[in-house]
């Protein structure tokens, strides 16, 4: 995984983005990984396109109600006469490329990704501390983590949303809270393994602080499994967002939500059964794509470790 050999004494480090790409590009070595990458890339591309162009206004009732697919509306229309293709495209945005703040501002990167980033941050923070420091810190962190894992996810989502109301940030918080214990467990086991290495001894002898050792020595060496895990978590997050949308407590309007689209379409399933199919397929392909991508990545990163 190392790139060009470094000359001794040079302080130049590879740029972190290039490093990340270095580990991600491995995925093209694997066939299923490549398939997964293109499935995910397809939805990302669609999300980016939908920012500048959708066939019609996704929230405008321009056509007849519950139309089957036709030349004008490629995927048909919903119960309010809105174009399903436009809504499907627009629905990708909130998941993957934008997050709406309560004051009306929009920040880049979607809810699913922010949620996973959140759980990754919180989880590695807890997990590295538990694994590297050990002792009481470990006991306490593991106990908190056990308590969080004991909550059935859906109960935690329901309780958080019931307590704080609907909104993009609340969904991000819910995903962060449910994801963090899993990440912490993984990060802890990685830290337990890595802290026995000689370079950690060396850093301790140099007198580096525990935080330096955790985040500069241990974390970069634990990144492979964490990245693979994060990919799977994005899938779970999209799943969770869909489920919440279906139950009617997910991402708020006006942006269409795939889960909510399924819920609306199932009420008209006699007249327009295909309307249920499109958002379902969208969720399934995106999640399968992420799964394949993660599988491919794992296959390639662990290939030489056996």
């Amino acid at each position: 995984m190392t790139t060009a050999p470094q000359t001794i004494g040079s302080r130049a480090r590879p740029n972190p983005l290039a490093k990340l790409w270095g580990s991600l590009s491995l995925v093209f070595e694997s066939r299923i990984g490549t398939i997964g990458f293109f499935m995910v890339a397809f939805w990302f591309a669609l999300a980016l396109i939908s920012i500048v162009w959708t066939p019609y206004d996704p929230n405008a009732s321009l056509f007849g109600q519950n139309l089957p697919p036709n030349a004008e509306n490629w995927l048909g229309t919903d119960h309010l006469g809105r174009d399903l293709l436009s809504r499907l495209m627009q629905g990708t945005q909130v998941i993957l490329v934008k997050t709406r703040l309560p004051n009306g501002w929009v920040i880049p990167i979607g809810v699913a990704l922010w949620g996973v980033l959140g759980s990754l941050t919180l989880g590695t923070l807890l997990g590295l501390n538990a694994g590297y420091r050990g002792g009481w810190t470990d006991q306490i962190i593991m106990q908190i983590q056990d308590a969080l894992i004991a909550f059935p996810r859906i109960v935690l989502y329901l309780v958080v949303i019931a307590a704080m109301g609907q909104g993009d940030l609340v969904v991000i918080l819910a995903i962060t809270l449910t994801g963090a214990p899993g990440v912490a467990r993984l990060a802890r086991s990685l830290a337990l393994d890595i802290k026995t290495r000689d370079y950690i001894r060396a850093a301790e002898t140099r007198g580096e602080s525990p935080w330096y050792i955790m985040f500069v020595e241990i974390l970069p060496n634990a990144r492979g499994p964490l990245i693979v895990d994060a990919m799977l978590r994005v899938g779970y997050a999209i799943f969770a967002i869909g489920t919440l949308g279906f139950l009617g407590i997910g991402l708020p309007p006006p942006d269409p939500d795939w889960g909510n689209m399924v819920n609306e379409a199932r009420r008209f399933i006699y007249t327009n059964p295909l309307a249920v199919l499109w958002p379902s397929l969208a969720i399934a392909t995106l999640v399968i794509g992420l799964n394949l991508f993660a599988d491919g990545l794992r296959e390639e990163t662990t290939r030489y470790q056996k």
Partner: protein, 432 residues
């Protein structure tokens, strides 16, 4: 081994305590004004304040947490001066609080400035006696009385200072004179089996929760019985045929099943079996409490949906574990020494390969719960999942907390069992 079990049990108890605290804080402190949901948006601030006091919400959160967890009759007892007992109502069988005065069960009521004692007779009827001689003098010269009222609260009346209170009736809020100054709703506490009263229905949570739990237990239990053998067999078949067509077919379809959300699976099953083929009911319409026994085909689609959701995950798990075991040197040795292939698989590989899935399945109960909430929403099935969903939407904190604690204890308990099972199955841990 004993040390390990001891540690697991202690850790489980601590976990449950942390969970109960976190849940209580999240639900009760985090949620907004519950009176908006119960009284509607047009209630006046006075009405809200009065109702909040009647619910005991004017007390600090840590007192309410303790009340919720271990009850408050032992705390309130010293104020009333008589032991408090919970007795079932002769008609509804729901528990009512009474004070035990000289062997008789008594409650009190204040009407037009006068105090009356309601003495319960052995046949369940109530005898009313004037009780104005029971007022207690305070140092400030007021006359006060602590008693149990007819709404199961310990209350403080002050003579001549009847508070104006608003009582919720079926026709709306009614203003009453002679109200108490302070309310402490009596409860036995979760640990003693009383989760409180549902704010949505006004009935004890324990009464309304039970049929829901039974329905869900039947649904989840049957899904489990269908899923387990099927998933393990498919996983083993895929695992011993690694890379062949059978394996590819099983792996791809289980991946597809895992990646399809429960609600999508449910909607498609309804479409295919309920609407196009019309062989099973598409929704679970419960006409009576026992509909599930009288009309078992109501369960078919929900069970199929849960099966589809769970199947993929367990198959993938078992397959991965089986593949790993089949590549182990001892399997190669067994094959090379000439054992029949099926014997190698059944006697050597399966035993080791099933260990990982079994413990993971125990952990997986949490996921199953998520599936159940969605499946019950899709089919309108009256179970624990829809109960917790409805309560969460309403903000009915007693109901959410009871249902959530039940789910958490199931999850924690199954994990404990999973841990112990793993220790028992794995000699390397058992003998260490």
């Amino acid at each position: 081994m004993a040390r390990f079990i001891f540690r697991s049990v202690i850790s489980t108890i601590v976990t449950m305590f942390l969970v109960s605290l976190a849940l209580f804080l999240l639900v009760e402190v985090g949620s907004g004004d519950i009176t908006v949901k119960i009284l509607g948006v047009f209630a006046t601030p006075e009405q809200r304040a009065s109702y909040r006091a009647q619910l005991g919400l004017d007390q600090p959160w840590y007192i309410r947490y303790l009340d919720w967890l271990v009850g408050n009759d032992w705390r309130v007892r010293s104020r009333i001066g008589h032991p408090l007992v919970a007795v079932p109502n002769p008609q509804t069988k729901e528990l009512e609080w009474w004070a035990q005065v000289d062997g008789q069960l008594v409650r009190w009521e204040m009407r037009e400035g006068h105090l009356f004692a309601l003495v319960r007779q052995p046949d369940g009827s109530v005898l009313e006696q004037p009780a104005d001689d029971q007022w207690q003098q305070t140092p400030e010269g007021k006359e006060i009385f602590w008693g149990v009222n007819t709404k199961n609260s310990a209350v403080k009346w002050v003579r001549g200072e009847g508070e104006e209170v608003y009582v919720l009736t079926s026709a709306g809020m009614r203003k009453e004179g002679d109200g108490p100054q302070q309310y402490i709703p009596l409860r036995k506490g979760l640990l003693r089996g009383d989760p409180g009263t549902s704010l949505q229905t006004g009935r004890p949570v324990s009464v309304t929760l039970f049929p829901r739990v039974r329905n869900t237990a039947i649904l989840a239990g049957m899904a489990f019985v269908v899923v387990m053998p099927l998933a393990l067999i498919l996983g083993i078949i895929a695992g011993i045929n690694e890379g062949r067509l059978v394996d590819r077919a099983i792996s791809v379809s289980s991946l597809a099943l895992t990646a399809t959300p429960e609600f999508v699976t449910g909607v498609f099953l309804i479409l295919i079996f309920g609407i196009w083929l019309k062989i099973v009911p598409a929704v679970s319409v419960f006409l009576s409490d026992r509909a599930i026994f009288e009309n078992p085909q109501l369960l078919i689609l929900p069970i199929l949906t849960l099966t589809a959701v769970e199947l993929g995950y367990i198959v993938r798990m078992t397959r991965a574990s089986m593949v790993e075991v089949m590549n182990a040197p001892y399997i190669r040795t067994a094959i090379l020494k000439g054992l029949p292939y099926w014997q190698v698989v059944l006697r050597h590989a399966v035993r080791n390969a099933l260990m990982a899935p079994i413990t993971v399945i125990m952990l997986h109960v949490n996921w199953l719960v998520g599936g159940i909430v969605v499946v019950e929403a899709v089919f309108g099935f009256p179970g624990l999942g829809s109960y917790i969903f409805d309560s969460a939407i309403f903000g009915d904190f007693n109901a959410i907390e009871a249902a959530a604690m039940l789910l958490v204890s199931i999850a924690v308990f199954t994990r404990l069992v999973g841990d112990l099972l793993y220790t028992f199955l794995n000699p390397r841990i058992r003998y260490s």
